[in-house]
């Protein structure tokens, strides 16, 4: 194991930022969810890396990663359901066109 922790952390920070960009800049709502997935994965890399580089006997990192899996799955299910429902009503999934929430 000759890889320092920093490599993982930097990689995950980069992945997180890319995901953030996706969330902020993509037009399509599905693509926004894709960005969120990237961010969640970045978090998971961190969790697992901290588990490996910390005390391997305490499994918090791995368990949290599993919970993040569950949360991600739930988030995708609900998110995509919402998007499909929105599409059914408005026939669009472009986030910029869904702008009724203003005064």
């Amino acid at each position: 194991m000759s890889i320092p922790l920093s490599w993982y952390l930097v990689l995950s920070a980069a992945l997180f930022s890319i995901g953030l960009f996706g969330v902020l800049a993509r037009k399509n709502a599905v693509a926004i969810l894709l960005g969120i997935e990237l961010m969640l994965n970045a978090v998971n890399i961190n969790l697992v890396a901290f588990w490996r580089y910390g005390s391997t006997a305490s499994l918090a990192g791995q368990v949290f990663a599993i919970i993040v899996f569950a949360v991600a799955a739930a988030e995708v299910a609900v998110g995509l359901a919402l998007i499909i429902s929105v599409y059914r009503r408005r026939t669009t999934v472009i986030a910029d066109e869904l702008d009724l929430l203003k005064w």
Partner: protein, 718 residues
């Protein structure tokens, strides 16, 4: 099983039944009622076991069953909850268990189990009957099963849970929880047929009216908690605390702290037990199905109010020297006695069979309250128990009568006849013998028919206590009320059962199913037999034949056992005269009455219940509508709040105008204009840029700000 464990478990079966029925077995009718009745039977069994074990305990008043656990941490202490069975709750749990079980069984028949589904029954309305066609092609209308059958059993299960919780609680908090659960259930059950506007309104009325009492009760509980730091009965009702509370004065009406607490709690009871002036909800509550009326409004819930006062009796009477009533006690005695008389007079002029009973309930509860007000603790408990039995019996009996009448209505097809109006009945004695005899027993018990019935002994004891302690006003009021009670009871029996049928449906009325008559018979046994456990020792002839067990048992709850009264002939004769006289007069007057027109007592003021509904409508309901509509909504909401929001810009402008006017200074003027105008302009320009409704734009903006702040923070702080 240890007795304490059983007590803990007592309320649970009905609660489980509620959840199981609501969540899983809503579709299955037989399954639902089996679960509910099974749960009630389980609780009943537990209650009986507990009760029998209490009997075995020597000197039970001092060594009670209790157990408690830590529940909520409050700072460094724990708020404890627990269960307590002392003589009072033992006797209460005894009658609660019996009446609840009876009512559960009765409900099966009342809601027409086993009958076909109605032709056009809908949820939220009473069943209208079903048309059957037999093999010969004859069409026949029979009662149909309640469309929300399972739901009813779920609700009464929850109700039973509330009642058991209240009774076994050893502290005010869980007692109040049970109290409120029952309030909710009474709302749900009175409005059970929510398709009827009258039922809806009655439900809301009951909920709102009792809520007034509950708020005061909560105040009382809070007061007790802040003063004593505990809500447990054992902590509050010990002599040391009570003497401290009794000697503390409060700025309100010159009452002692104990007196004020007692009064606040008593107001809760006034609401729950439908005492004047909060009695208005109970008669309307008759809109619910009859088992509900019997259960909530006769046997258990209204009893809970009295139970609460009895439970807090030492607090209420703190500072009472035995002769001169404290202010609180006077208030209680007055309200009780007044209610007893007042409700009795209204009952005389009611035609609806259930409404008569409703007012009679209010009146009888007034008896108990008055008894408590004059310090007659045991008598109040005694009457509470006997009343629960015979009033449940009467209500169930009236439900049986209505059921029989409905059968007649369906059979004849004459839907213009109101099956609840007593003037449409008559002669039911032959059609419904079991109902008649049990109703007669219940009615006689209510009137206090001498020697034989339970009501006589308990009522007599109240009168004797009032007389013996020298409260003549109370005594006379109650005596008059007792006379009226006997009178309207006989009126009811005469109109309903005696004479000849006045309408076709009454001719075709039919005895009801055994699930309905069996509870009647069992309750009738108690309505007679339960009086014999409390015969005063000094009573002529009978006294001492059976020891006055009740007095010994219940009296043991109090710190000092109340001394046995000196026997006096005056109250005994009074109760004999009023009971027999009332019954006789009632029979004489109504034996030949053919219709409501001939009834001399149809006085408008009585018929309209002294216009209390109208008065309240005028005094409270209309003003609160006005308050809500005109003041809160139109004035506060629309004018002030909305105006404030809408017109900030305008206010800024008018401020500027004000400045110009009053100072007449062009500089200030110009400056004000500039500020106002530019704020407006900036707002208009910014609004489409900033507020786009685009989520990503918001996110970018907030992230930008966050990052800028973070950078500044880092650079400035480091």
């Amino acid at each position: 099983m240890a007795t304490e464990s059983i007590i803990w478990l007592l309320p649970l079966p009905p609660l489980l039944a509620f959840f199981v029925i609501i969540l899983f077995t809503n579709k299955g009718k037989a399954l639902s009622h089996s679960i509910a009745v099974g749960a009630a039977a389980l609780s009943w069994l537990g209650s009986m076991v507990v009760f029998v074990r209490t009997l075995a305990v020597e000197n039970f008043g001092k060594e009670v069953f209790q157990s408690s656990i830590n529940w909520l941490p409050t700072g460094d202490k724990w708020l404890k909850i627990g269960v307590l069975i002392d003589p009072l709750s033992a006797i209460t749990i005894f009658f609660v268990a019996w009446t609840v079980l009876m009512i559960f069984i009765y409900s099966i028949g009342y809601h027409n189990y086993g009958q076909p589904n109605g032709d056009h029954d809908r949820k939220g309305l009473p069943p209208h009957g079903a048309t059957l066609i037999d093999e010969h092609g004859h069409q026949q209308t029979v009662p149909s099963i309640e469309p929300m059958y399972a739901r009813f059993f779920a609700f009464i299960g929850l109700f039973a849970f509330g009642m058991y919780t209240l009774v076994v609680s050893d502290n005010l908090l869980t007692m109040f929880v049970g109290w409120e659960i029952m309030g909710l259930c009474s709302y749900l059950l009175i409005g059970f047929w929510f398709g009827k506007p009258s039922a809806r309104n009655a439900a809301v009325k009951a909920f709102m009216t009792t809520r007034i009492g509950d708020v005061f009760m909560l105040l009382g509980i809070s007061f007790i908690y802040s003063a004593t730091g505990s809500l447990s009965f054992r902590d509050i009702l010990n002599e040391h605390t009570l003497s401290v509370l009794a000697s503390t004065t409060t700025p309100i009406l010159g009452l002692s702290a104990a007196g004020l607490m007692g009064l606040l709690l008593f107001i809760g009871t006034v609401g729950k037990s439908a005492q004047w002036p909060l009695h208005v909800w109970l008669p309307d509550a008759m809109e619910g199905p009859t088992p509900v009326s019997a259960m909530i409004h006769a046997a258990t819930m209204v009893s809970a109010g009295v139970y609460a006062v009895i439970r807090m009796f030492p607090l209420i009477t703190a500072g009472f020297d035995g002769h001169n009533l404290t202010t609180t006690m006077s208030v209680i005695a007055f309200i009780g006695a007044f209610t007893a008389l007042f409700a009795a007079t209204i009952a005389v002029a009611q035609n609806d069979i259930k409404r008569v009973l409703a007012y009679s309930t209010i009146s009888q509860l007034g008896f108990m309250i008055a008894a408590l007000g004059v310090g007659a603790y045991v008598a109040a408990v005694f009457h509470l128990v006997t009343h629960a039995f015979f009033k449940a019996l009467l209500f169930l009996g009236s439900g049986s009568v209505i059921h029989g009448m409905e059968h007649g209505v369906l059979h004849t097809g004459d839907h213009s006849v109101d099956p609840q109006d007593m003037f449409n009945m008559g002669g039911l004695r032959k059609k419904m013998p079991i109902t008649f005899w049990t109703f007669l027993i219940g009615g006689f018990a209510l009137s206090g028919f001498p020697i034989l019935t339970a009501g006589f002994w308990s009522k007599d004891e109240i009168l004797a206590d009032a007389f013996g302690n020298g409260h003549m006003v109370v005594f006379i009021t109650l005596a008059v009320a007792a006379f009226l009670t006997a009178f309207y009871t006989m009126r009811q029996i005469t109109l309903t059962f005696l004479g000849e049928p006045r309408t076709k449906p009454a001719e075709h009325a039919q005895e009801t199913h055994w699930t309905m008559t069996l509870p009647l018979v069992i309750l009738a046994v108690f309505a007679i037999g339960f009086g014999w456990v409390g015969i005063p020792e000094k009573f002529p002839v009978l006294g001492g034949l059976i020891p006055n067990w009740f007095h010994e048992f219940v009296g043991g709850t109090l710190a000092e056992r109340p001394e046995v009264l000196v026997f006096n002939m005056v109250p005994l004769m009074t109760s004999l005269v009023v009971a027999l006289g009332g019954l006789l007069v009632g029979w004489l007057v109504y034996r030949n009455v053919k219709s409501a027109v001939e009834d001399k007592l149809q006085i408008n003021v009585l018929k309209n219940k002294y216009y209390f509904d109208e008065i309240y409508d005028f005094l409270f309901v209309k003003p609160s509508y006005w308050f809500a509509e005109t003041f809160a909504y139109k004035f506060i909401d629309q004018t002030i709040i909305d105006g404030f929001i809408n017109r900030i810009g305008g206010v800024a402008q008018s401020l500027g105008t004000g400045f110009r006017k009053y100072f007449d200074a062009p500089v200030v003027n110009g400056f004000g204009d500039m500020v106002g105008e530019s704020a407006k302009k900036i707002g208009k320009k910014l609004s489409p840029i900033i507020q786009r409704g685009r989520i990503q734009y918001y996110m970018v903006a907030s992230l930008t700000v966050a990052i800028i702040v973070a950078i500044l923070y880092y650079f400035i702080l480091t």
